[in-house]
Amino acid sequence: MKKKGNVVRYNKWGYIFLIPFVMVYVVFQLIPMVTTVYNSFFENYMSGLSQVGPNFVGIENYRKLFSSGDIWVYGKNTLIMWLMCFIPQIFLSLLLGAWFSDVRLRLRGSRFFKTVMYLPNLIMASAFAMLFFALFSEGGPINSLLMQIGIIDTPYKFLSNTWSTRGLVAFMNLLMWFGNTTILLMAGMMGLDTELFEAAEVDGATSTQVFWRITLPLLRPILVYVVITSLIGGLQLFDVPQILTNGTGDPMRDSMTLIMFLNKHLYSKNYGMAGALSVILLLVTGILSLIVFKVTGNDKRKG
């Protein structure tokens, strides 16, 4: 009887210790989120120094977003750049992860390489973008190098062509994030039961067979997690293309992402339109997160 009372008393402390987090969460996350949804139903912006609105307009902001077609175009750009970054990234990470976690290969210095691969992620994205902007400018080192080797004879305008711009954005994101993905996959691979690999070895399976028949199927939950979190991150792609194209999304806004579009509305402090766009992104991200939750949750129940 007395013991039960104690448990209840200790539980109470749990809740009390949660208070700081909940307070910070409510003030900085929940309230802004709810007001964003609320604001998205209003016409509310600044014209110079005079405030227009807030006037309730219902779903007018959403209608405008979809009817102009902009959201599809920028959504498409975002996805294209994400795919261009993610497909090579997952191959590279799987390969590196398989090598480093392979017990038979016994690669040395894996800790060192893990650190090195992760390093690009520590550079600020904007600094990284500035660096690439300078490297790939018309008079920049890459152009003079290519001209000296004799591949081209006039400077190539990397940032004035759709696919080279998108390619650069994707390449920079690849460099920044492949280390992170590799570490996640490696962790997943090392968590796999070694008995299975030993059994495969005894049965005379080749390493390709081991990879496709054992590693990959067992790795599926981690893979799904990596795909979805990368997709969520990809949807919020902003800093690299923003700095690289000076906010214009040039050429012809082909490299403009959804968040860059959102940022465009901040000039006039257009809370209505920006709010509507944020809500749409919130819904998409929410659905994706739910998938992750489902997949990883299922896995636990089975395991």
Partner: protein
Amino acid sequence: MKKKLISSLLCATMVAAALAGCGTGAVDSDDVKTSDGADTTVKESTTGSASEENTAENTSTEEGKVLNIYCWNEEFKTRITDHYPGYEEVDGTTGKIGDVTVKWTITPSDDNAYQNNLDAALLKQADAPADEKIDIFLVEADYALKYVNTDYTLAVIDDIGLTEDELANQYQYTKDIVTDSDGVLKGVSWQGCPGAMFYNRAAAKEVLGTDDPAEIQKYVSDWDTFNKTAATMKEAGYSMISSVNDTYRVYSNNVTSQWVVDGKINIDENLMKWVTDSKKLVDAGEAATYELWGDDWKKGFYPEGNVFGYFGPAWFINFSMAADTEGSIGYDGGWGAVEGPQGFFWGGTWICGATGTDNVTLVNDIMRQMTTNENILTEIVVDDDDFVNSKPAMENMAADTSYSSQILGGQNPLAMYCAGADKIDLSNLSAYDQGCNEEFQNAMKNYFEGNTDLDGALELFYKAVVEKYPELTY
């Protein structure tokens, strides 16, 4: 017992941390509303006197003790420190004039930060305590009308008390920029920034056979001859200008209609002329599409850049063209200056008095001393190499044969600047200029580079402007 002690200690820390956050918040909001609570003793006296002043303002001339100045860089502060009589510097952001404390609020212009900060402060101006009210703020030409066309700025003549006679010597264009839609002057400037075209003397000699400014002017006297010369330059291996954005300002200063007419976006003929002319230049390889201030654009500051000319005002050639770097054209005095096809200006800072100021007399005196006192203005020319906003002062300097510019190979360009300043007509400014000019150049770059046709670029321009100014249509 020990466990209990630790847990209660932890709890205390947590509660303290949690309450510290909302604690300051509570004090802050109290502070604004009623000024009671912790700092009563400190605040009481100032708010007391401030509210007295507010009521007394109409009847007596009792002035505030703090002068708040909002600006985006050190320039005006340096001018005041060096030239305003009786200004004493206290530290980086404060100074003293008599017993009035001058408080500088400096926010850089990057990413619109200056305007965002100023807007927020102005919107709260009516409720702010007297000592926190903005007294003076500075504006640039691109967005001057955004502030001038509102009640947040004071009329220079009616409210602040300068007279028309005092302002008679200032260049007309500097007044056009800060005149509101009812024709009321709302700001003054100590600078003029009329521009000229700078040409590479060596290239001129090689291609055109002369580097005499009077002769060169004949080759660039209007846009058609300018473009013809561009073709000649191209044959000799020079690009006429570094980037087509160089000439944008020259075209856009000479428009005959505003960016926005009755809430509709309107593109002036002269700007469309910039588009057609520039497209030809880019297609023929006579100019590039670099953004201003980028490394590619700056190549022409050096002989190996092979650029014939740049457009700019006095500050541009004096401070921005790498004239102090060995090997640059400016270092060897290799530039010449001509008027170019059309007059234009670039830059400049205007002083505006904020509505609600409690230091009208001081604002008046600063404006009078800094923008109309000819002695001070001449001092600024001599000390700081600035082009000041006073016709007589500048014309005297222009006639002075002992004054010559080393960067320009011994030429005295002031007469040319003076003539240019007189010709500038800026009656067609609108409050939307900053956003429209920026987006127009961005959009047209796509057309010049062949990523879209003209209609596509215009469509992109309209879209971008409506994002910035949702109230406009096209």
